[in-house]
Symmetry: C2
Subunit: 359 residues, 2 copies
């Protein structure tokens, strides 16, 4: 088991990573809570809910199971959760456990952040992708007009990453998660990036997954420690996300995974970086790796103007001008304001280059 | 103009108190925001909205007016606000101004706390009561099963208390606000309490109001500085509120004001304190003052068991046991766990004593 300590403005907390670390849940939690509510989704519940409950001996435990997928991260489900907490008599000394991927973590975390002005919660991510979202204390739900528009900065008490859970993931989920690992590598660690490009999604070993996730978390942790509230550095974690979020919204949540959309966004950020700065980036090797690992690059006809209006709903937008994270080289990200006219051209050329239809 | 500095865990901020201090708004704000949204209610808008807008020269200003009253502090209005912010293109460098009483402050503050994970906001309280709620960073909306159940600790950038606004308040609002002043006096300052008992709600001078509010804020500020997140000391501010909140819920928000309910709660806390501790408290002089100043003590038939179940939804409840703030003497509050059986008897005797019907 590896332990990484995160220092945040409001609270320090540990991240435990290891095969079977979930089985030590009660030893890791230590405190006695007046109630424990496990929030999870239908898919995860099938595999791990009973196991987690059996590792919570002596706690008064409740369970709330939500439908899987981004659709659950809305105000209706959020309010239903709040009602459930009140009706179950959860008080300020209660704990929420978020058992699942990013959707469960974001939703359960935001419920914890705002129930009675904040109660404790623990993240138990069950996807590769959630190594990223579970660290750093960003929690949120979606608004119909934008992703993660309603939320807080509210760090968990701890994060428990059991790499055994990865074994039951569909390939597509692993693919999605590896896009965030690629992002972390691109903003901070050239060797890690090259190492990832040597891996194949279909033949990952347990130790490899452990190492990749640990490296990803260490990169993320170093950034959020320096800038928890996203005033500066933390924006770099948005690499690939301005276009990524817009693609998710335009194609439809569920039709493309977050990571698949981010992968295209990463490629685009390399593409734009090479045009804005005098730098040669591994655009082609990343493109080839994505193709080899079956990332869906050509999805459907893309309406550039609609995409740009979606990109502007990004929370990083300032004075109506899109802020993109670009690379001066691998490991040297910067935030750059991009004018709409430039963006239209970049998008057209980029989609043309990767073989997508535009109109 | 008086200036009080508040130190909080997350942020330091000033409170400005004075007659006409609202007219210096643009000088006090200093920063240039990408947009400013004023949230206010219909009553306040009539008197002060245009004035506030004219004191925001050079800022891109929006206004959102909500219906007055506790009914607006719900999830529907909250979400409507979020939609309005998105549609108006407010970004992370925007400011919300909460212009109004506690309802506007709590709602607008919670919108600010959670829009894009938190943007700046300023409290401009327009009631006596809001001297209390605008300081300390507690923001929230109500759940149908409990008051302020959904919220955050999220301090404002500043609080601007223009005592001129008090002049347009209905008497009932002033009465409501003075209950919180009595509470602050009871938990911290015997002389202030005696001073308040000498005042009459119908004949307050401007300087008196200024001094009372300033004293109230200083007491509140000293407590929230020591315990922003309500782990200990801050609970004392709940004096009179366990019963107060339950009365509001059972009688119906709007039918009794918050302060009127708290006034009864304060009396009750004196009553219980005298039974739990060997202390003689000014129960009778407070009762006489409340009667003299037309506080409604006899409201309607009271269902004791319903009241107790409502008291248990209080956020301070731990392990289903009601936590009441009591006084060992004036200025020495303590939190005491009260058993249900005792509470039934206390409530029966108390309501009997103040001449209320129970069943």
């Amino acid at each position: 088991m590896d332990e990484i300590k995160i220092k945040s403005d409001s609270r320090d907390y540990p991240i435990y990573i290891g095969f079977n670390v979930g089985k030590s849940l009660d030893k890791l939690i230590k405190s006695k809570y007046s109630s424990v509510l496990i929030i999870t989704d239908e898919n995860v519940a099938k595999f791990y809910l009973e196991e987690i409950k059996s590792n919570l001996k002596g706690q008064r435990t409740f369970t709330k199971i939500i439908p899987p997928g981004e659709g659950s991260k809305n105000i209706g489900v959020y309010y239903e959760m709040q009602s459930y907490l009140i009706q179950s008599g959860l008080d300020r000394k209660s704990l929420i456990i978020a058992l699942g991927g990013g959707v469960v973590g974001d939703l359960a975390g935001f419920v914890a952040a705002t129930y009675m002005r904040g109660i404790d919660y623990i993240q138990i991510p069950t996807t590769v992708l959630a190594h990223d979202s579970s660290v750093g204390g960003k929690v949120a739900i979606n608004h119909e007009h934008g992703k993660n528009m309603i939320g807080s900065f509210y760090p968990p008490r701890m994060v428990i990453f059991d790499t055994r859970y990865i074994s039951t993931l569909p390939l597509r989920e692993i693919r999605s998660g590896y896009a965030e690992l690629l992002k972390e590598a691109l903003i901070a660690d050239k060797l890690f990036f090259e190492d990832l490009l040597k891996s194949s999604i279909t033949s990952l070993m347990d130790e490899q997954i452990h190492e990749h996730i640990k490296k990803g978390i260490l990169i993320k942790a170093a950034i959020v420690e320096k800038d928890e509230k996203e005033n500066g550095l933390r924006k770099h974690l948005n690499l690939g996300h301005t276009l990524g979020h817009a693609l998710e919204a335009s194609i439809g949540y569920g039709k493309i995974t977050h990571g698949e959309a981010v992968a295209i966004g990463l490629l685009f950020s390399l593409y734009v970086s090479e045009r804005v700065f005098p730098v040669k980036l591994p655009f082609d090797s990343l493109l080839q790796w994505l193709i080899r690992n079956n990332y869906p690059l050509i999805s459907q006809k893309t309406d550039i103007n609609h995409l740009i209006s979606l990109m502007k709903t990004d929370k990083k937008t300032i004075n109506n001008s899109i802020q993109m994270v670009l690379l001066k080289k691998i490991g040297f990200p910067v935030v750059q304001s991009i004018r709409d006219e430039e963006l239209v051209n970049y998008l057209k050329d980029f989609f043309d280059k990767i073989g997508n239809d535009i109109y």
